[in-house]
Symmetry: C2
Subunit: 330 residues, 2 copies
DNA sequence: GATGATTGTGAAACTGATTTCATAATTAAT
DNA sequence: ATTAATTATGAAATCAGTTTCACAATCATC
């Protein structure tokens, strides 16, 4: 590969001048500029990012942490992030935390050594203080997941409202015995906590108490959903509707319900979350709460890039709105 | 961040010695070694990858090109690749080619500037010569997709056999009017070509001719599958079975067939490819050809790492075997 | 005891860029 | 016409590592 010295030699100029041309510095005569461009062209020159990085420049690489890429919600999110990054000439270093603290920390460390310019976290495992302590090495943006009370920049949806909308919809449809199934722990911080609030708020309006036996926590996969349905099936007193934390769980519930002989939504109404492709694929199609995944990705990258350029932000905590999608499962 | 000079100073030794300790060079006394470790520990020192990279060392980063991460086959593949990479202390720079040549080339260029040590390509857009020309900058491994007649290292499945198995299964079940639906072009190179061969081979054994009107090319998504089914529905003379290039297309066909009032497999038998989660989710569940995705990811990373270390390879072209999974759609 | 090989260490060069500092050549202002 | 400001360029320092080269010190061999 040609180096900046080669370009300097070929153009009969110094490395300094070449560097200035590359970086669009002022005070360079038009002729020399042309000379440099010509030499770069002929040599097929490309600046070495490692050398730039070393000199303290940015690397055009952002890190993205996801819990697991096989989860469609996250693969769609990463898709949006990668595309928006590419459009701004950035590359994406993708990393799966697998919901483990040590993996997450390993990746955050890349910020220290300037392997990435900034990081977008779509999930959070470590404690708030730990994550905030890394912000001194570079910008960290929370996307989708977030930490209550934190000042960190974040792009998220209004989960309280989302959960409220979903639950309200079930209540409006006449369901009164509503179960609740969440990905986190019921007392969790951030996203899940906000959802809980929305869920409870809707119930309060109808003066309904939560039935603790109908609360399922830490559920994520289709398989989890099937297990939930089995538990419900075994109950003496069953709910007539269930609010779930993702379309995958909802799908698992629907699938298992069918094979157990329950009718959806007559015996059990099910509402999903996310609006993934799967929601339309199963029968009956899932009512769900659509998350603006594409927009979340775009906004996240844009905000991170602004942070990198030290541009003033209109708002450090951006909230996107969700949409209730009514299909046949409720 | 502490630098190697800080460690040198703290330990009272030279940078050279510290570097030797870090890189496990021979001929260093035990005492000095201890001194260095102690200093590194106290300073929380971590070597700067950019500086190492610049000096011509490896970066512990591999690039992965996928056409589109939202395609479950590829998100499962990336999942496997990322995990195996992590286990060997490597990071993954993920990139979507979006099936576009220019994007692919953009990414291959990272090899030139040593941004990545090597690249795993799970899809191929450019011509063979172009891709091979990049191998002089670092190892490129083909995974899943491959180029006929090329010497490039590859991890793949025997697509000819896979397609043969699938088609044979349809024939054995008594179907004789078999349509064919592929992701590539029917005359394509590599993977798709091999599948065509297997498909034709099975037909030949039963002395059946291909019906050109029943060949669908360049189909990828669920949506594509639905469109294919609509076309079939409009035909005067319809096939009684269809071999597809992916479970997604197969799912689209099944979904649309149901809403058009066709019975699967009575009116039309459908066999998928990949064995993605979706195959078990739809009703009727898809018969399909299972690809060993996890193993492909593991083997690919292992082989690339061997190439990076210049280790001799048992085989540069590794072939994994597939498995016929019979469910209800055939 | 001289010679050669092995072991152990540091100074300095090197990787490929950017930036500081110095300086020359114009242009503008007094 | 002299001084000051602006424009334009290059030499050398710098970033944080690794590697080469030189040189001791220790050990083994004849």
């Amino acid at each position: 590969m040609a180096t900046i010295s080669d370009v300097a030699e070929k153009s009969g100029l110094s490395k300094a001048t070449v560097s200035r041309v590359i970086n669009n510095h002022p005070y360079i005569s038009k002729e020399k500029r042309e000379l440099v461009y010509k030499a770069m062209e002929e040599l097929g020159y490309q600046p070495n990012p490692s050398a730039r990085r070393l000199r303290g420049q940015l690397t055009n690489t952002i890190g993205v942490i996801v819990p697991r890429i096989v989860n469609p919600f996250f693969s769609y999110l990463v898709d949006a992030l990668e595309q928006e990054a590419y459009d701004h000439n950035y590359q994406v270093l993708m990393f799966q935390s697998d919901e483990k603290k040590d993996k997450e920390l390993y990746f955050l460390n890349l910020l220290k050594t300037r392997q990435v310019d900034g990081i977008i976290m779509t999930s959070i495992e470590s404690d708030r203080e730990v994550i905030e302590s890394y912000t001194k090495f570079g910008p960290i943006l929370l996307c989708n997941e977030y930490i209550s009370q934190s000042e960190m920049p974040v792009v998220r949806v209004d989960q309280t409202k989302a959960a409220y909308m979903g639950t309200k919809h079930l209540l409006d449809q006449g369901y009164r015995n509503i179960a609740y199934c969440t990905g986190g722990l019921f007392v969790d911080d951030g996203k899940d906590k906000d959802r809980n609030v929305g869920f409870q708020k809707a119930l309060n309006e109808y003066e309904i108490e939560i039935n603790p036996g109908w609360v399922f926590i830490n559920k994520h996969t289709i398989e989890d959903g099937k297990l939930v349905m089995q538990q419900i099936s075994d109950m003496d007193y069953r709910p007539d509707a269930i609010f779930t934390g993702s379309d995958e769980i909802a799908a698992g519930i629907v699938l298992e319900a069918k094979s157990l002989g329950f009718k959806i939504p007559e015996d059990l109404a099910v509402i999903g979350f996310d609006d993934q492709p799967i929601a339309e694929m199963i029968d009956p199609a899932l009512s769900t709460i659509r998350q603006p995944v594409k927009e979340m990705g775009v906004q996240s990258v844009d905000m991170l890039l602004s942070l990198l350029k030290n541009e003033p932000l209109a708002e450090r905590q951006k909230e996107l709105s969700v949409e209730l999608v009514i299909r046949s499962s409720t």
